[in-house]
Symmetry: C2
Subunit: 369 residues, 2 copies
């Protein structure tokens, strides 16, 4: 309210910040408003009866004192912290970034707050779970390519609802929201065949990644003959090398589906700069995730989009339901991917085959500063 303005002397002590500053409590507000602490509590938690006048006095007193309810104390007594643990590994995977942003927003909209745990490669997840649980989180959302299938079970066993996002574990008692990777792979296969391609390549991510495996499986479902496969490890360099492997091998493909956009970009650069080919004419390339960079002129990459927003929203919705009623059956939901058409892959004459599944939309803008 009335911070003293001081001149910019920066000697030894901070300008304001009265050391012993104590937060006002509901009792302080009650005293000032001339009511009981219960009344203050009821006013702020919107539970029980509070007369209009009392509420007015309480609000005024609260504002005057700068009172805000202590979420820790509230959580202790209600046994609801309104905290949700968000566990991600590999935050540098670009797709997880938008997930995180969307997730934070969706949680807030539902009155929750995100306790973030970004797992460094070195650390073991189980130790982190301990920390997560110590904060009495109401639920946990896990999203990570390197997620041990044990981690979600640990939470579930502690009675804390879990939803895995963009990632599924074998345990069917764990709720999950993910892109329908297999269906999307199938769609890409149909798309490339409709474009007249006949020799296919697939650039895979990591061996233990279900996303990559499922995309490949769907791709195979759709194809008349099996694709050549190379490992790209989900990196630009890996995609670059994998593309060279495929193109320099016997019977090089005329269409390549990459399990991620980053690898697709590496592949595009290999085709153009190392092999002198023109993507979209000599060879078609399709990626996955519709990363922001896919829309850049250099790449103009046809890609499957998995909406981070939609995934996040569903994950939070499902988690919120599970928190409401922990006995609810686990839900596993698979959102369809959509093909974003750009110039890196030849456009079939008649597409879509059935009227749905692809969009012309652009990727979200990406910035830095």
């Amino acid at each position: 309210m009335s911070r003293k303005k001081e001149d910019g002397k920066e000697t030894a002590r901070a300008p304001s910040a009265k050391t012993g500053r104590k937060q006002p409590t509901s009792y302080d507000v009650a005293r000032l408003a001339g009511v009981s602490q219960s009344a203050v509590s009821r006013a702020f938690s919107n539970n029980g009866y509070v007369s209009p006048e009392a509420r007015k006095k309480i609000t005024a007193a609260a504002v005057q004192l700068g009172f805000r309810p202590n979420a820790l104390a509230r959580g202790l007594i209600t046994r609801r912290s309104r905290l949700v643990g968000v566990v991600v590994a590999d935050l540098y995977y670009s797709f997880y970034v938008s997930i995180l942003h969307q997730l934070s927003g969706a949680l807030r909209a539902s009155g929750f707050h995100a306790l973030l745990f970004s797992i460094p490669s070195s650390e073991n997840i189980d130790a982190m779970i301990t920390d997560v649980l110590a904060y009495q989180v109401d639920g946990v959302i896990m999203s990570s390519a390197r997620l041990s299938s044990r981690a979600p079970g640990l939470c579930r066993d502690a009675g804390v609802p879990v939803v895995t996002m963009n990632r599924i574990v074998d345990d069917s008692s764990i709720s999950a929201v993910a892109t329908d990777n297999r269906g999307a792979g199938r769609m890409v296969g149909e798309f490339l065949q409709a474009g007249g391609h006949r020799r296919f390549g697939f650039i895979a991510g990591l061996d233990d990644s279900s996303t990559s495996r499922d995309r490949e499986a769907g791709f195979r479902d759709a194809l008349a003959q099996a694709p050549a496969v190379a490992q790209g490890g989900f990196t630009y360099d890996g995609g670059h090398r994998a593309a060279l492997d495929l193109m320099l091998g016997a019977n090089p493909p005329d269409a390549i589906f990459c399990a991620s956009d980053i690898m697709a970009m590496g592949a595009l650069d290999a085709l153009r700069f190392d092999l002198g080919l023109t993507p979209g004419e000599d060879v078609s390339v399709v990626g996955f995730n519709n990363a922001a960079e896919a829309a850049w002129r250099t790449y103009d990459l046809t890609s499957v989009t998995a909406s981070a927003e939609e995934l996040s929203q569903r994950a939070v919705e499902i988690l919120a339901e599970l928190i409401e009623d922990p006995d609810l059956a686990p839900q596993r939901e698979f959102l369809p991917g959509q093909l974003v058409l750009r110039s890196s892959a030849r456009m079939p004459e008649n597409w879509p085959l059935d009227g749905g599944g692809n969009v012309a939309a652009a990727a979200g803008d990406i910035k830095d500063s």
Copy 2:
């Protein structure tokens, strides 16, 4: 410990998850171990005396019951939540991503946990601060290009230490850790002049962004004549347009410094595809942040690196000190940027001028899945 294995029936109820599962408390542990609750508390908080035997019994009992101290209750009584609010806007700015990852790790290493608030453009920051404070965070780290200068003050006035990261506000009572943007801008100016360039362009970010302003100021410091300036808004498209503006204007530059890598990539694509020029030969381009994409073949962008790791670590260190002693003077620290040399800018004959400030290092890998 002994979860019943059930067959995969997924009807209406979840397989395990005994509904009323209650977390064991320190009293339960005490009873089982045959000691007092105080002893259990002392054993887990490592405060006060606990005999080796007692500790052993307590540990055994705790393991048996699956006890973990309730962080909320602990925070309530100790008045230390070990939570740190991390406020970022614009999570999609790629540089903030690595900051977030590094930050989460650094906080954990210091025994803190990150309560994440990612501000959607629509929302006002002040409302969010209320939430942050309600959780009795021990401190706040703010990092955002769209950070109102009022927000840090709100926390400080509530007695909560704040450190702004990669961003500074005018108020000198707020601690900050940032790259020495002005010094880095100067370095880029010297570098480009040493490379024999004489007509300079600068692609700016946002008007109200101190990072962009400071980089420009340093750049001007170093130059004999003022650069032409265009606005790029920190986006790829913005950089693309800005580069065209500069190059198609009167007296086009032969060297362009961009306030961020994303804009630099837009600029590079404009030069190559729209104007048919060769970066590094016809025109030199330098970016800022050393984003992962800067190392990609397509761009091979010379850029200034600001280490997210170093920034994060210092921010957490400073914050931890402030939490220890809130009366400590605010610290404002500026870490030097380093030039990462690649082919997008012509290499001067004798560089570095003074032996320091540039590195050959590559950017970290980026992945997606």
